[in-house]
Amino acid sequence: MQNLWLIPALPFLGFLINGVFGRKLPKAVINIVAVLSVLLSFAWVVKVFMTAGDLGATPITEHYFTWIKSGEFQVGWDFSVDKLTMIMLFIVTGIGSLIHIYATGYMAHEEGYYRFFAYLNLFMFFMLDLVLAANYLILFVGWEGVGLCSYLLIGFYFLKKSATTAGNKAFIVNRIGDFGFSLAIFLIVVNFGTLDFSTVFQAAPGKPTETLTAIALLLLVGAAGKSAQIPLYVWLPDAMEGPTPVSALIHAATMVTAGVYMCARSAAIFTHAPIAMETVAIIGLATAVFAATIGLAQNDIKKVFAYSTVSQLGYMFLGVGVGAFSAGIWHLMTHAFFKALLFLGAGSVIHACHGEQDMRHMGGLKKYAPWTCLTLACASLAISGFPFTSGYFSKDAILSAAYGHAPWMYWVGVITAGMTAFYVWRAFWMTFWGEYKGHGHPHESPPSMLGPLVVLAILSIIGGFMFNVPRILENMFPIAEGAENMTLTYISVAFGLGGIALSYYMYVVNLGLPEKIATSFSGLYNLVYNKYFVDEIYDATVVNPMIEGSRAVLWRGMDQSVIDGIVNGVGTESRGVGGILKLLQSGNIRSYATWVVIGSVALILVMGAMEGAAK
């Protein structure tokens, strides 16, 4: 017994303490409760890892209680740990701890301090439940829970209209995905009679391809919602309204990767549904290139990184879609390192510039915030796929797998890699090089924020060859045979370096050039700058018809006419009938008595007649 339940239970305890008593507690105590609960959880993960033995051969499964029992169908509250879960546990608790520490510095002067940490701990609880789950329903509980926490934290500054709207948007768009996911779960129940991963995956090869394709495609709908893939990616850029540590933890490192994790977990279903796999790959690739182009022209530092996240998630789906599940998970891990770092660094930059997020009002920060500059450089190198940084290994694994699947996917991926390098370094140069163009005096962040940055920077650089995920997961996801094609690697590295060089040329050497390009290709530039007007298209085609339809049909048609009509009609009719009947109540006792007499005489006559008829 490894007591796996402790891993999510500890953050939940932190949530209870901070959530219930936080208002009265001093900040120091809130810090200790919030950070310690996650650190202890991390420690327990380490302990499980040390004592569990070979997880590849024998996954640990623990059954706590039976949740649902209905005839043959049974769902237990089961946790299970294999190597894939172990990697996820390390990512979630490790990066979670770092971001909690960072947040104690970043949020120090904010209102609702205890509320923030209570939500953050609650998020950790649900996320750990999600990765530990041993069946789809427990996974779904965590899945919905992280969505709830995401909503709460995006709308953390709830006095700001844009923040609450963004929270609603995230929640509603996720509902669409979760609807698909729940349909997939129903299909699994119908076809497999159980939700337990082990049973389902063992039985999966024997099922008809059509069934598996339907299940896999519906799972993909869920994953696309949670992991911000086309067409449901629109909520993630808006989610940047939340505090920056939230963006780093939930909307970059952990929650948004849940879709990738779920697809990798369901590999047994996906591998037997080639059409679904192809769809995953194409959606991933399309999202990667689409979001990357939008990222090229954004000026809000967090928006750049948000589109970058969407794009990198697209890479992970590409990896999963071409069958390189372990490469997808590898990229998930390295992305968690460098994207969390990018966001935390962006938070540090925003902190330095007194809340400014527009990169055009930054610049020259390398002098004022050297540590932030250095760590962000590490992250930017990693995401650009600079040789031997973490991103280099994972991206290369995905791209070579894509080449093995279909060469054109490789080429699109490589071009995207070039764009990625360009926009990340564009953000870097605009922020740290040149002259400071903002207001006030920028200043370096406190040590509680810089510490996590340094740790993540080290991980971003060495995380790739330190944790060779495909080797770790070898017995779950066999590594595709085939000679290492170094040419492919050279090409993708060249594209990355080219992107860096181009951004250096455009944003450091020849500063007027971006402006000139923007004016000479103003149509294209406006299209990209306005994110292809996707939000506007969704508003026009889905959101507004929905609102108008609800108003006309559901509100005025159904609610006001039919439902109110029935209720009010019954009332009016009763009143009318009563108005007639009340005339009987004359108040005249003698008339009542007359009725009584007439009634009794009539009764006697009837009874007499019946007596006569009976004889």
Binding site: K582, L583, Q585, S586, G587, N588, I589, R590, V597
Partner: protein, 110 residues
């Protein structure tokens, strides 16, 4: 020579008693319907009750069963209680309205 009780028991057929009872009851009903004075109406109610009492004892005697007579006692008790409460109500009504006309006491109408 038969004594008076025997004459009553055997000489008078039950239909006579019942006819008398019916006549009394109809008189009570007619009085209730056509008189306006509350006291009169009240007395008519008593008349109806006693008409019923009469048929009770007549049947009890005819069938040699005591339950009819027991019923009569119950009716008497109820009539006494009703008289006590009813007269009190009539007194109060008269005090407040200065009338005993039953047609004017109709504030519960509609």
């Amino acid at each position: 020579m038969p004594d008076a009780l025997q004459v009553l028991n055997n000489g008078v057929p039950i239909s006579w008693y019942l006819m008398l009872s019916a006549v009394l009851f109809v008189l009570g009903v007619a009085g209730f319907l056509f008189r306006r004075n509350i006291i009169t109406v009240f007395m008519c109610i008593e008349l109806m009750l006693n008409a019923v009492n009469l048929s009770f004892v007549a049947f009890a005697n005819a069938h040699k069963q005591v339950s009819g007579q027991i019923f009569v006692f119950f009716v008497m008790v109820v009539a006494a209680a009703e008289a006590a409460v009813g007269l009190a109500i009539i007194l109060t009504v008269f005090k407040n309205r200065a009338t005993l006309n039953i047609d004017e006491i109709d504030s519960l109408k509609n």
